[in-house]
């Protein structure tokens, strides 16, 4: 079943065309990686889906509904973006993970703790000052923070960037595990070809603002990519 339909979207930012006639369909509960060179529009595409920006033309449908017809705050609770640049809110790791729930006016301790574990951190982190964590730990807290609001689609922009190579595969495994367990759909932006092959159900190649190829991970032609 398809969860996301992106139809012929175009986006120009500061007089530069970033996305041109981009179309893509995402299936429910799949992990789809977006690969492509810097500046090809991967981040802009994620920002359009999360409605941090709107495309100039074209439509994006979530469960058959045009996302422009869904109240934007409700949409962002279901389609959560974890940006490349990790920003920690002032306070503890617990405060950060509980942030999304607080906004919605509830607190589910079990989900908060489970999200931390799913993101690959143990519970001793809950009381730590979020600002004082390492880059890789912050990345994982931002993943946990997104998971704690029970999203339906997770948009991950280079989620393992800055993570220690020794734990890279563990973090990837954590993401795949929680995606399977929670029936989550993931759009995963990466530069890393090996990583895309390891984590994806399908891989989409983005070049000069448009999708040039979408294939199952095993069938993806790396020779023609980028």
């Amino acid at each position: 079943m398809d969860i996301l339909h992106i139809n012929n979207i175009k986006k120009t930012l500061q007089k530069t065309t970033i996305l041109t006639d981009l179309s893509l369909t995402v299936k429910k509960a799949e992990i789809l990686t977006l690969v492509g060179p810097s500046g090809s529009g991967k981040t802009t595409l994620l920002r359009c889906i999360n409605r941090l920006i709107d495309p100039d033309q074209g439509t994006i449908h979530y469960h058959e509904n045009d996302i422009k017809n869904i109240p934007v705050v409700s949409l962002r609770k279901e389609i959560v973006l974890v940006p490349q640049e990790t920003y920690m809110l002032p306070g503890t790791v617990y405060d950060n993970i509980a942030y999304g729930q607080n906004l919605q006016g509830y607190k589910d301790e079990a989900v908060i703790k489970q999200s931390l574990t799913d993101a690959g951190l143990d519970r001793s982190f809950l009381t730590k000052d979020a600002m004082k964590l390492s880059g890789g730990e912050k990345k994982r807290v931002s993943l946990a923070r997104a998971l704690a609001i029970n999203p339906k689609i997770l948009l991950l922009d280079e989620p393992t960037n800055g993570i220690d190579p020794k734990v890279l595969v563990t973090v990837e495994k954590n993401i795949i595990d929680f995606a399977r367990k929670r029936n989550l759909t993931i759009l995963w932006v990466t530069h890393n070809i090996d990583q895309a092959t390891r984590v994806s159900d399908r891989i989409a190649n983005l070049k000069e603002g448009t999708i040039t190829e979408v294939q199952r991970a095993q069938e993806f032609q790396w020779g023609s990519a980028y």
Binding site: L13, Q14, N50, R51, L52, I53, D54, V72, V73, R76, K77, V80, L81, V82, P83, E85, Y87, L89, Y99, G100, L103, Q104, S142, R145, A146, I149
Partner: protein
């Protein structure tokens, strides 16, 4: 008591004190500071403006229907203050839509409190200077809070977007930055308040002392003036940050495009 000479005699006194202007020009030339010309221009411009307002006040104080003219003066003050403050927010479109109501609300509310408490008798010689102080200070506080808020949002776009993408509204994501900008706009006035009487005697009190008022009454009045400035200022800053939200975010809870160009 008070100034012991007429305005005609005052011109001679003024001419004599222009020795100080000469000193500024001489030092500027000698040290190549290049401020002599600018200072002379500022003195002539500022002095000219003061003489015009003095003439206007002379007429106003003698008028039977002064309250009609005072409304015209208020409207001019509000529009000028709103326009001047809006110029600070060069990138924000139609910033006067934020500054004018913010200055108007803060200054008016503090003046109403002063009128009700009898600190400002409803006579032109009280209303005009106090309104000038209220509008002037609200304008300064509005400019600082607006400039600070734009800077905070511009520097913290990624943190704001993080909050937005987790389901925060623009109001929720802007809240910490609104707090910083309100605080930043009031800190100079509060610091000023702490040093009252220690480092200098402030304007209102100095004026009253020169005019021969009892020092205790002059001190009380200075405190009233500061309460007016801070009270009106906090309302101005609060309204500035509240109204700015519509200029900083779209109706779809997105950061406005002009902020990405800063």
């Amino acid at each position: 008591m008070g100034i012991p000479y007429t305005w005609q005699e005052g011109l001679v006194v003024l001419a004599f004190t222009c020795i100080l202007l000469l000193i500024v020009i001489l030092i500027s030339v000698y040290k190549k500071l290049e401020i002599g010309k600018e200072f002379t221009y500022a003195l002539i411009k500022g002095g000219g403006q003061l003489f015009i307002i003095a003439l206007f006040l002379t007429i106003l104080f003698q008028m039977q229907y002064w309250y009609i003219l005072i409304w015209a003066l208020f409207v001019t003050m509000i529009l000028a203050a709103g326009h001047t403050s809006a110029k600070r927010a060069t990138h924000m479109p139609q910033a006067y839509q934020v500054t004018t109501p913010a200055i108007l609300s803060g200054a008016t509310l503090s003046l109403i409190v002063l009128a009700i408490s009898r600190a400002m008798p409803l006579e032109p010689q009280f209303i005009v200077p106090l309104a000038g102080m209220a509008f002037g200070n609200s304008m300064a506080i509005c400019s600082v809070s607006m400039e600070r808020l734009i800077r905070e949002v511009s520097l913290n776009k990624s943190s704001i977007e993080t909050m937005l993408s987790l389901g925060a509204s623009s109001k929720q994501s802007l809240e910490p930055f609104s707090r910083y900008s309100i605080r930043a706009s009031l800190i100079p006035t509060i610091d000023h308040l702490k040093t009252l009487g220690v480092i200098f005697i402030p304007g209102a009190m100095a004026g009253l002392l020169i005019a021969g008022t009892d020092p205790l009454v002059a001190a009380e009045y200075q405190i009233i003036v500061f309460l007016m400035i801070v009270g009106g200022g906090i309302i101005t800053a609060l309204i500035t940050t509240t109204l700015s939200r519509k200029k900083l975010f779209t109706s779809n809870e997105q950061i406005q495009e002009w902020l990405y160009e800063l």
